[in-house]
């Protein structure tokens, strides 16, 4: 009896059906989150009761730990050299893992790992992510583990330390910390007959911008100023102008949303006019510092973490100038938000690993290493006792960034504590700047959105 191949063979219809089914399933498996024992037990709250975290009495530090980083400011090499020194001194091996290229990449991987993957022993926590990990009960309060590792936070810049405090607990330690900085092309400013400094206020810059635009035949720049790419951290840098006008995304240290208040609307109207009406400002598509380095704009604001990169990109083509962020008609200081990232310790790893991670935190951010890190990246030294003389001798511009730390302000909670707020802010600003949407109406809509996020995703965790 011959085998009936025609009956057994898969038909074209079946094949196509299987392709469709497989594709759909692949789409799902690619998108679905990690498995969890969701039981309808309610949102729950974070470990708010643990002020100092678990006890580490009698715990011996592990010999090997892992550290997930996105290497902010191209810091892989300098971080690895610090790790090598730590190994020589303590005998503890730290495996530096590239967990992505942005803070969001690290967050994506870390949150996926919560569902059963391999957790790191130490992880980068950006200003907008640590609070979510706190709410999700994914990280430990550091009080006791830092005490056990003999890491004293009193020598750290207290403003930066306070950025990671909630409910009397410390949730991270500052590491690659930054602020936005005003960058300008000295050649362009000279060609426009402007003083060699950053403007004191945005009002002053509005009087400079036409001169920079008039000098374009010499400078070949497209814009006098370029707003940073909205897909980056528009909500972060725009706090400067909002605060200068007396507004903000939310009230200071509060979830009371104020993005549609009169001062906030005035601030964002200034931004909108600079692009749509006065036309001396543009919006970067990818990186405003790249455009500055290419001579396409005369000034911009970006992270201090971009400083060394900008200097390398510019080379000897022109001198880069930096200055404090300009103030506004209501406030000239403090109008500079802090930013960047710290490092924190996940909850679901062995205490021995947590203790070793805490010891490494102390070494990573000691006065000597924070200066080395700063020299290599442009991020700011996080220790008050750090000897920055060699740093300033090598790169005087970093001195401006360090001095600006004295006039920084903790970020608006609406931006850093509400999941997705940064994305919603960027979308709203994009609508205003590029689609002609009204500032007032757009901010009212944003307020409704942000309040909805607070009510549904934050408030239940804070009870």
């Amino acid at each position: 009896m011959l085998h009936d191949a025609s009956r057994a063979a898969i038909s074209r219809r079946s094949l196509l059906g299987l392709i469709g089914l497989g594709a759909g399933a692949a789409a799902l498996s690619a998108c679905s989150g990690p498995s969890t024992s969701a039981s309808g037990a309610g949102a729950g709250s974070a470990s708010a009761d643990a002020v100092g975290g678990p006890s580490f009495d009698g715990v011996t530090p592990a010999k090997t730990i892992s550290f997930w980083s996105n290497h902010p400011g191209s810091s892989q090499a300098i971080t690895q050299s610090i790790i090598d020194k730590f190994k020589a001194e303590s005998g503890i091996t730290v495996n530096l893992v590239t967990a992505g290229s942005t803070y969001e990449d690290v967050a994506q991987k870390f949150q996926s790992a919560q569902a059963g993957g391999q957790l790191p022993d130490l992880v980068v926590l950006s200003d907008v992510w640590w609070f979510r990990y706190f709410m999700q009960d994914s990280i430990i309060p550091l009080g006791n583990v830092l005490k056990a590792a003999k890491v004293d936070l009193s020598d750290y810049r207290q403003g930066l330390v306070a950025d990671y405090q909630y409910k009397d607990s410390q949730w991270a330690v500052p590491w690659a910390r930054s602020t936005p900085l005003f960058y300008y092309n000295k050649s362009h400013f000279k060609a426009a007959g402007l003083p060699d400094r950053a403007p004191a206020t945005w009002g002053e810059f509005a009087t400079w911008a036409p001169k920079l635009m008039a000098a374009r035949s010499t400078t070949k720049a497209k814009y006098a100023y370029e707003h940073p790419a909205l897909a980056g951290y528009a909500g972060w840098t725009l706090q400067n102008i909002l605060w200068g006008y007396g507004g903000g995304w939310s009230k200071k240290d509060s979830f009371d949303i104020t993005c549609d208040s009169d001062p906030s609307v005035k601030a964002l109207s200034y931004v909108a006019d600079s692009v749509n009406k006065e036309k001396w400002a543009g919006v970067a598509s990818t990186s405003s510092t790249d455009d500055l380095a290419a001579g396409a704009c005369s000034a911009t604001i970006e992270s201090t973490g971009s400083l060394v990169g900008v200097q390398k990109a510019v080379g000897s083509r022109f001198d880069v100038g930096v200055g404090f962020l300009p103030g506004g008609p209501v406030s000239t200081k403090p109008v500079c938000p802090t930013g960047g990232c710290g490092v924190g310790i996940p909850k679901g790893v062995d205490k021995a690993n947590q203790l070793a991670a805490a010891k490494f935190i102390g070494f990573l951010t000691n006065p000597e290493n924070t200066v080395s890190f700063s020299a290599a990246t442009g991020y700011l030294p996080v220790r008050t006792s750090a000897d920055t003389s060699s740093l300033l001798a090598k790169n005087p511009l970093i001195g401006t960034a360090i001095k600006q730390l004295d006039v920084t302000r903790t970020q608006d909670w609406a931006r850093v504590f509400l999941p997705g707020a940064d994305q919603e802010m960027a979308k709203s600003v994009a609508a205003i700047l590029t689609q002609g949407a009204g500032v007032d109406a757009t901010m009212k809509t944003l307020r409704t959105t942000l309040e909805g996020i607070y009510t549904s995703q934050v408030k239940p965790h804070l009870s």
Partner: protein, 304 residues
């Protein structure tokens, strides 16, 4: 030996042979079936379960909310997301297939440099979507990009490709078609080369022009290929992710179902339950499309 005994012998052998074949079948199929069950259908079923939870990604706790995520999607985001998905899918599928067919027709002729041209057309398809996205991001950059430089030569300024939602979608569609039309071109080329020469020669003898020959002979004969491409490119287009992620990370104007699902879970919102609901809707759409194409469109296909 009885008559029944003479029949029972071959029957037993037949049964043993069938049993052996069945066991062999199971031995071959079971490992793959188990893998598919664990890595495809289990996540699929779990995803449907997650879609009914109010669950923050990374959190061990969640709240069962029934169809709440679906209700929210269809009352809040469906219009924009489904509209973008429809435009992206129709234009990329139509564009890839039409241009791919045109290229295949050209490449099917005896031209100088035909083989290098075929390789050139197909090359973008095998390139990494991330790499392609990065290169085209530089090309479209309105300040320092290649396209902006070309436009400046003609006294024009570059459109704001990354800031205007409509232009962002257009930009991603252009790059998607560029990357994928080689696939359609190569498949169509193979189909064109399979069209019997004698039919084309007979049509020419009967006085049929190129257009008439294409409409009456070539097109019906390559309709199975068109059907195959239609299905595979629709499925591929609906799942497009890499180019959108690299070129428009905020998803301004480019938030298709697939990308909306990503943004909700991993783009800052951490809404794993809502993201799962969007993924489930995407799967249902894929299934409906597949069934529709098999039931109705395949009837129009001519299998030689």
């Amino acid at each position: 030996m009885s008559a029944s005994g003479t029949i029972a012998g071959p029957r037993r052998r037949l049964n043993r042979r069938r049993l052996r074949e069945s066991l062999l079948f199971v031995a071959f199929v079971l490992p793959n079936a188990a893998l598919i069950a664990v890595f495809t259908y289990r996540p699929l079923i779990l995803n449907v379960w997650y879609s009914m939870l109010d669950w923050t990604l990374g959190s061990a706790r969640a709240t069962f909310i029934g169809l709440g995520n679906y209700r929210e999607f269809f009352t809040k985001d469906a219009g924009a997301v489904l509209g973008t998905t429809l435009i992206f899918t129709v234009v990329t599928v139509g564009g890839s297939m039409l241009i791919g067919l045109g290229l295949a027709v050209v490449l099917n002729r005896r031209l100088i440099g035909r083989n290098p041209a075929r390789a050139t057309v197909f090359a973008p398809y095998v390139l990494s979507g991330v790499g392609v996205g990065l290169v085209w991001t530089f090309i479209f950059d309105p300040v320092g990009g290649v396209l902006a430089a070309v436009l400046r030569k003609f006294g024009a300024s570059s459109p704001q490709w990354f800031l205007q939602p409509g232009l962002s979608l257009t930009m991603v569609i252009i790059v998607y078609i560029w990357k994928n039309l080689g696939y359609c071109a190569v498949i169509y080329l193979a189909a064109l080369q399979a069209v019997p020469r004698d039919l084309l020669e007979a049509a020419a003898l009967d006085g049929a022009g190129r257009s008439r020959t294409f409409r009456s002979i070539v097109w019906p004969l390559i309709s199975p290929t068109t059907f195959f491409l239609l299905m595979t490119t629709i499925l591929s287009s609906l799942q497009s992710f890499d180019l959108i992620r690299i070129m428009t990370p905020m998803g301004q104007g480019t938030t298709t179902l697939m990308y909306a699902s990503y943004l909700q879970a991993f783009g800052g919102y951490n809404r794993a339950g809502y993201s799962s609901a969007i993924s489930t809707i995407l799967v249902v759409i894929l299934l409906i499309l597949t069934v529709f194409q098999m039931r109705f469109l395949e009837r129009k296909v001519y299998y030689a």
